[in-house]
Amino acid sequence: MRTLFVHIGLPKAGSTSLQHFFMTNRALLERQGVAYPAAGAYHHQVAQHVWARALKGPRYQYYWIEPDDARYHVDALQQELLDHIAASPCPTVMLSAEELWHPAIPPKLADAFADGPWTTKILIYARRQDHLLLSAYNQCVKTLDPRVVDREHVESLEVLVRDELASTRPFFALYPTLRDYAERFGRDNVLVRVLEREQLVNGDLFDDVLSVLGLRPDDRLERPKRLNASLPQQLIDVVDQLNRRSTLPRGPQLSFNYRLRHLAEMMPLQDYAPLSAARRREILARFEDDNARVAQEFLDRSDGRLFFEPWPDPNEAWAPPPALTPELMTRAVARLWEAEDARTRALREKLAQRQQELGGCER
């Protein structure tokens, strides 16, 4: 019996790193019996994001995909993916898309894969909610995409935290969605791993996922560099301010944001804690029971301890984040211009060189 692993996130819990790992080592993993389908319209960049977004619903799809394009219709994507899975000789298949972390997905995924000649295993890496919320907010700012937390709009970190705490089904409440997956795929087929160094095999995310796949650590497998890393909070503030003022179309705006991330390498920027220890404890308290049920039911931990990291010390010194200043923004704009100027000059030189080469050839 083949095994189909579906890695569903969480968003902001190492997904991009894992996907790069699968993608970079695709050929080698395939020789070890693990396929990572990537050759169809269902795939974008390093994972099966297009398919996962289509499964979630049209409003979640990439902006550059025409809604009427039949190639990207959910059924077409689904069929293409199933065909590629069927065509693979590997006993194990890995799929990965953090967009699959959504309450609406378990029944859809069950429909998609229930009849296949394989056992479907749902893999999730859990991360503590105080870290998740901060990281997810930063991702919303970086990618201009509040859909990271399944929202239309995220006004601020504080609003995101407030809404999440007040929600009857918070986006990062693990238990309800995992229960839904367990009901459809079987409790034993929902594999919960915890993104904490001391809970990962060899303290390493990649060794950990290899162990899930039944593979040993292998030096030949390339480890991606740190990807989609968090930005210093001051840079998040700069990007946020620029996003708020921008009326650029989505494509250029994303390119702009991508450039802005590199400011972290060009100027000193402070990274401060936007949430106080007290606020983080409130978040953890909100999810405490939920996390305990996950630990008990999915990890057989009678003590209900899902995360080992100690809660923040309530007496920890903390000051409210400093406001973004025009001085910092001025420095950021100057560095941005310098980087773009260098890029433009390099292109001009390349063009001049090419023109010279062609002129030389013609002579």
Binding site: D145, Q241, L242, L248, Y258, P326, T330, T344, L347, Q355
Partner: protein, 361 residues
């Protein structure tokens, strides 16, 4: 009496507009007996006789391409003198504000002596508060100035040889050409543009009639908020003036971000403007007495209050950043497209250009 009038500026008193006016009306002036010579190496039509001033001073403009050869002093002087002699017009008009700052009056006089013309010097002066604001804005615009407006003003006031001290150079001009041949006029920023042209023509003995064509406004003032923003950005950029000036390209004129509309604001508060004028009060009174036979050099402006430009806000800086980046992004796209076209027919080996690193989504 044949006259040769040297319009010597000063800077920031509409010289560029005047030179455009003279160039555009060259034929009309000639019909009236006034020659405005522009055909030789001594003149760049868009900026008057500045090559002559630079040749006489042995300098070259900072913005000029270092590879460009400019005429030397002898060549330039011979060319202008030959031209004036050949045309033999009843009156000659020469104009560049660089005469005031670059050329010793005696040298200027010698350049045009012996041609059979009565030499006169026409000078426009602007109240120093307005002059300093305008001079600062221009310096920022061309990437020459990285300091704040406040420190620029302080520096200018402390330096007794700085530009706003009009009296010493006027005395030198008077000594070289004779006080009676020094024609002083005042310039104010709020005056109608036609007044500049009519004052100029009146000084050289003409009227601004309907035959004259008025040029389009050029070298227009920047909104004070944009000047402050550019100065703040340039203070962060190391390297040569030309590099800083290239940043401005993305934020000036047609590229000006909408966050910086034309405005009535000034860099100086009314109080600061008064303080500056007080520093020059005695000197201006001396100029008025000596060269105009009156008490006051500048008539009161009639404007005692105005809004003052604040330092750049986060919103303005953000708008500037977005505007700047998008302009550069579009240029880069065009360059990539040109490169792609050059490569396409010759190679057949996959993607033409490396991915530019954009994430897509």
């Amino acid at each position: 009496m044949r006259t040769l009038t040297l319009h010597v500026g000063t800077h920031k008193t509409g010289s560029t507009s005047l030179q455009a006016f003279l160039l555009q009306n060259k034929a009309r002036l000639a019909d009236r007996g006034y020659d405005y010579p522009t055909e030789g190496c001594y003149c760049w039509p868009r900026s008057g006789h500045s090559p002559l001033a630079h040749a006489l001073a042995g300098t070259r403009p900072a913005w000029l391409d270092p590879a460009r050869v400019i005429p030397g002093r002898v060549e330039c002087v011979q060319a202008i003198r030959r031209r004036i002699e050949q045309v033999g017009a009843p009156h000659v008009l020469i104009s560049t504000e660089h005469f005031f700052t670059h050329v010793p009056p005696q040298v200027l006089r010698q350049t045009f002596d012996g041609l059979g013309y009565h030499l006169r010097v026409l000078v426009f002066l602007r109240p120093q508060d307005e002059f300093l604001e305008s001079r600062y804005a221009q310096s920022v615009k061309v990437g020459r100035c990285q300091q704040s407006f406040e420190s620029f003003v302080q520096e200018q006031l402390a330096d007794r040889t700085s530009y706003g001290h009009y009296l010493p150079p006027l005395r030198r001009l008077a000594a070289a050409f004779g006080p009676m041949n020094l024609l002083l006029r005042t310039f104010r920023s709020q005056q109608p543009r036609t007044r500049l042209f009519s004052r100029f023509l009146e000084a050289v003995g003409l009227d601004l009639d309907d035959d004259f064509i008025l040029p389009e406004a050029r070298n227009a003032s920047l909104p004070a908020e944009l000047t402050r923003t550019l100065a703040a950005l340039q203070a962060q950029i190391e390297g040569e003036q030309v590099r800083r000036a290239s940043l401005n390209r993305w934020l000036l004129e047609a590229n000006r971000p909408p966050a910086f509309p034309d405005s009535e604001t000034r860099l100086l508060s009314p109080e600061a403007a008064q303080r500056i004028m007080a520093c020059f009060e005695e000197q201006n009174a001396e100029i008025a007495r000596s060269f105009l036979g009156r008490k006051e050099l500048f008539a009161p402006s009639g404007r005692s209050t105005w809004p003052v430009a604040a330092p750049p806000t986060l919103e303005q800086l953000a708008d500037a950043a977005i505007h700047l980046w998008f302009g550069m992004h579009q240029e880069q796209q065009q360059l990539r497209e040109q490169l792609r076209r050059l490569r396409a027919p010759r190679t057949n080996d996959g993607p033409v250009l490396e991915n530019n690193g954009d994430p897509g989504d």
